[in-house]
C-alpha cells in the first residue's frame, strides 16, 4: 500500500466526521453497559469501527457498528477506526469478517458439502423458516439437479424437499446466489424434462427419506 494511502490504517477519527450505518440497532442493555465499561477503562476502543472514506475528512461506517453505538453512548469525541478499501467486494468482505453479513455461495457450482453446510446454517438460526425440512435430503437433491441454467432458486421448489415458495425459499437467498453457465432449456423440453425428473426424484426422494428416517429411528 502506498505511503499516501490510508487504506488499512488504524486512525483516530472525530466521531462527528463519521456517518453511522442506517437501520442498525442493538439492545439498549448491551449498548449502555458496554458504554459504561468503555468509559471506565479510559475510552480507548480496542475493537475498531470499520469505515470507508466518504469525502474530504468524511467517513462512513461500514462494519462493527456496535462500536459506534457504544462510543456515542459513552460520549467519546474520537474513535479508533480502520479505513477499508471502498471497492464493493472489499466492503462486503469486511462485513462478512465482522459477521454483519452472511457470506453467499455460488449455487450454480457449489458442492453437496457446501450446500449442506449452508442449509444447516440456515436451519440452526433461532427463528428458522426451514422447520420440517430435512437439510441432508434437500442438499442431496439440489446437488444432484442440473443447476447450470438456474436463473433463480425456484426450481428447488420442484425437487420435493419441502422447500416451498415464500419464507423458505426467501431464506435460501440469504446464503445462495446464482451465476448460470448455460441457457435455460426450451420451454417444451424443459417442462417435460422437469416433470420427468421431478417425478423420478419424487420416488427416489421418498425412498431415501424413509431410509433416513429409518436410520434415525
Amino acid at each position: 500500500m502506498s505511503e499516501f494511502s490510508d487504506l488499512g490504517k488504524l486512525v483516530n477519527l472525530p466521531l462527528e466526521s463519521i456517518t453511522p450505518a442506517e437501520g442498525f440497532s442493538a439492545p439498549s442493555f448491551l449498548v449502555t453497559t458496554a458504554a459504561a465499561q468503555l468509559r471506565a477503562t479510559g475510552g480507548h476502543n480496542w475493537v475498531p469501527l470499520l469505515v470507508v472514506e466518504a469525502g474530504d475528512y468524511q467517513y462512513k461506517a461500514i462494519g462493527n457498528h456496535f462500536v459506534y453505538a457504544v462510543a456515542q453512548e459513552a460520549g467519546l469525541e474520537r474513535l479508533w477506526c480502520i479505513i477499508v478499501d471502498p471497492a464493493p467486494e472489499q466492503v462486503e468482505q469486511a462485513q462478512v469478517l465482522a459477521r454483519e453479513r452472511v457470506p453467499k455461495v455460488n449455487l450454480t457450482e457449489a458442492s453437496r458439502e457446501t450446500i449442506l453446510a449452508a442449509l444447516r446454517y440456515l436451519a440452526e438460526q433461532p427463528s428458522t423458516p426451514l422447520k420440517g425440512v430435512d437439510v441432508t435430503i434437500a442438499a442431496a437433491r439440489i446437488a444432484e439437479a442440473d443447476r447450470s441454467w438456474w436463473q433463480d432458486l425456484t426450481p428447488i421448489t420442484k425437487l420435493g424437499c419441502r422447500i416451498t415458495r415464500g419464507k423458505k425459499l426467501d431464506a435460501l437467498k440469504e446464503v445462495f446466489f446464482l451465476a448460470p453457465t448455460a441457457p435455460p432449456p426450451s420451454k417444451k423440453k424443459s417442462s417435460k424434462k422437469t416433470t420427468t425428473s421431478a417425478s423420478v426424484k419424487k420416488t427416489s426422494s421418498s425412498r431415501s427419506r424413509k431410509k433416513t428416517e429409518g436410520e434415525r429411528g
Binding site: 502506498s2 490510508d6 490504517k9 488504524l10 486512525v11 477519527l13 466526521s17
Partner: protein, 457 residues
C-alpha cells in the same frame, strides 16, 4: 458554431487512427478552446512564442480595443496539437518531445504573460502551468474518451480560471547536512527582497528554521491545525519582520521593497515531535496528504511557499513532497552520498508521490551545489564525474536534465548552480536574521539562485 455540438460528439467524429493533424485541429482543438471559455476573437492560430510557433494561443479580451486575435499580445494559454498517429501516452518518445515543446513555448519571450499550456492529440491531454521560470504539469497526462471528455475539460477550465498565485517548493534531499534549512531561510529572504510575497513552513519537528529566526509558536499551533481540519490556517501564520539597519543604504539598493524586509512563517511547535510516532500520527486525518490541504487556502495569497522538511522518507518529508509543485534538491559537491540520495529522490520518492497525487506533480528541479569551497581548485570536478556515472547507471529515467540542465546534444554544458561555502550559513545566530539580510554578497548569491530557478526578470 461548434459549441452547439458536444465535445463528445466532436471526439467521436475523429477516426481512431487519424493521421492528419489538421483534422484534430478542426474537430477537437478549436471546439476545445471554446469549451475552455475562449471566443473566436480571443484565439490566435500559429502564434510566435519567441521560441517557435505554437498551434494556438488564447486570452480573454478585456477591452474593445484589445482584441487578442488582432493584437496577438500577452497570451494566457498555449495549445499544441498533434495528430492521433503521434503516440502521446506517458513515457513515450513523442510525449517527452511534446512536453519539452510546450515548456519551451511557455518560456518564450512573447509568452511572459502565459500561465497555461496544453498538449493534446485527441487521445491524450495534459495541462501545464507556468509560474515565473518554472513550468510544471497541472494535471496528469489524461487519456480522453467520448465518455470522459466533458468532465476532463470542465476540470481543466476550472483550473485555468482559478490560477493559484503560489509556487509551492519543497526543499529536500534524503541526505542530511546539505543545507536545506539554510536554503529555505535565505531563499525566502532573497525572494522577499525581490518584492515577492513568501511563506516559509517549518515542517521539521527539530525546528531549526523556527529557531534560526527566533520565532516561537503562537496560541494555535501547526500540530493542532494538522489534527483539526476546522481550524483556519491563518491562525498559525506569523510575520517575520526585519528593519534594515541604518548606514547600509547601498546594500539595500539591491532590494526593491522598502527597508522593512518581510516574509511569513508557519513555525514548528514542540508537539510536532509527537508525530514521529505512528500512534500519534493516527490522529492526523489523511496522513501525509494533510499538509497539502492545510496550505491550500494560502496558495492564493503568496507568490512562493517554501517547505523545510527533515531527511528520511517518513511522515514529514512525505507530507512536504505531497504538498509541493516542485522539489528543490541541494547537494554538497564533496559529499557523493548527497548526489546518490538526490537520485533516490528523483527516481523513487517523487514518482511515488506523483503516482498518488494523480495530477502530474510534484516534479524535481535541477540540483544545485551547496557550500562549494572557495579555496579549493576545481571543487566540483569529482562531483561532476560522479554525476556522469549516475546518469549512465540509471536506465529508466534520463537524469541529465536534473543534474546538468544546460546540457544539450552538440553543446555538453555541465554547469551546475553553485552556492559558495561562505553563503551556506543560515543566519547570524545571535541576531536571528537570515544571512541574506546581513550580507550583501550572500544576498546576491541567493538572488541569483532565485533568478536561476524561479523569477523571470
Amino acid at each position: 458554431m461548434s459549441s452547439a455540438i458536444s465535445l463528445r460528439e466532436q471526439l467521436e467524429r475523429i477516426s481512431p487512427d487519424e493521421k492528419v493533424e489538421q483534422v484534430v485541429v478542426q474537430d477537437f482543438a478549436k471546439p476545445l478552446l471554446h469549451k475552455l471559455g475562449f471566443e473566436s476573437l480571443e484565439i490566435t492560430p500559429e502564434f510566435q512564442t519567441g521560441r517557435g510557433e505554437v498551434d494556438f494561443a488564447a486570452r480573454k479580451n478585456t477591452q474593445h480595443e484589445d482584441i487578442f486575435y488582432n493584437s496577438k499580445k500577452n497570451p494566457y494559454l498555449l495549445l499544441e496539437v498533434k495528430s492521433r498517429a503521434v503516440e502521446l501516452s506517458e513515457g513515450s518518445f513523442a510525449y517527452k518531445g511534446a512536453a519539452d515543446q510546450i515548456k519551451r513555448y511557455l518560456l518564450g519571450e512573447h509568452c511572459k504573460s502565459a500561465r497555461w499550456g496544453i498538449i493534446t492529440n485527441a487521445n491524450h491531454i495534459q495541462l501545464w502551468r507556468r509560474h515565473g521560470k518554472v513550468v510544471h504539469p497541472a494535471t496528469a497526462n489524461l487519456a480522453i474518451k467520448p465518455d470522459n471528455v466533458e468532465n476532463i475539460v470542465h476540470d481543466l477550465r476550472n483550473k485555468i480560471e482559478n490560477y493559484e498565485r503560489a509556487l509551492t517548493i519543497c526543499v529536500y534531499n534524503n541526505k542530511g547536512g546539505v543545507g536545506k534549512t539554510t536554503t529555505v531561510i535565505n531563499l525566502a529572504g532573497a525572494l522577499a527582497t525581490k518584492g515577492k510575497k513568501v511563506l516559509a513552513v517549518d515542517f521539521d519537528s527539530q525546528g531549526d528554521l523556527t529557531r534560526s529566526l527566533g520565532a516561537t509558536p503562537g496560541e494555535v499551533t501547526l500540530t493542532q491545525c494538522l489534527e483539526d481540519p476546522r481550524i483556519d490556517v491563518h491562525a498559525i501564520v506569523q510575520l517575520y519582520r526585519h528593519k534594515a539597519p541604518k548606514g547600509r543604504v547601498s546594500f539595500f539598493n539591491l532590494i526593491q521593497r522598502d527597508t522593512e524586509l518581510v516574509f511569513d512563517l508557519i513555525p514548528r511547535d514542540p508537539e510536532l515531535e509527537r508525530l514521529t510516532d505512528s500512534q500519534a500520527a493516527a490522529y492526523i486525518q489523511k496522513g501525509a496528504r494533510r499538509l497539502r490541504d492545510l496550505l491550500a487556502p494560502l496558495r492564493h495569497e503568496y507568490d512562493y511557499i517554501l517547505i523545510d522538511c527533515p531527511t528520511q522518507w517518513l511522515y514529514f518529508s512525505q507530507s512536504g513532497l505531497f504538498a509541493a509543485d516542485v522539489v528543490l534538491i541541494p547537494t554538497r559537491p564533496n559529499d557523493l552520498s548527497s548526489l546518490h540520495n538526490a537520485v533516490r529522490v528523483i527516481t523513487k520518492f517523487i514518482p511515488e508521490t506523483a503516482k498518488s497525487r494523480q495530477d502530474g506533480g510534484p516534479i524535481a528541479l535541477p540540483i544545485f551545489f551547496n557550500g562549494v569551497s572557495s579555496k579549493q581548485q576545481n571543487p566540483t570536478k569529482l562531483a561532476n564525474e560522479e554525476i556522469e556515472n549516475l546518469i549512465k547507471q540509471e536506465k529508466n529515467i534520463d537524469l541529465t536534465q536534473y543534474f546538468w540542465p544546460h546540457f544539450k546534444k552538440g553543446n555538453e554544458d555541465k554547469r551546475v548552480f553553485k552556492m559558495p561555502d561562505y553563503a551556506a550559513i543560515p543566519s547570524n545566530i545571535f541576531a536571528r536574521i537570515p544571512a541574506t539580510f546581513r550580507d550583501k554578497r550572500i544576498l546576491e548569491y541567493y538572488q541569483s539562485l532565485a533568478a536561476e530557478y524561479f523569477i523571470d526578470e
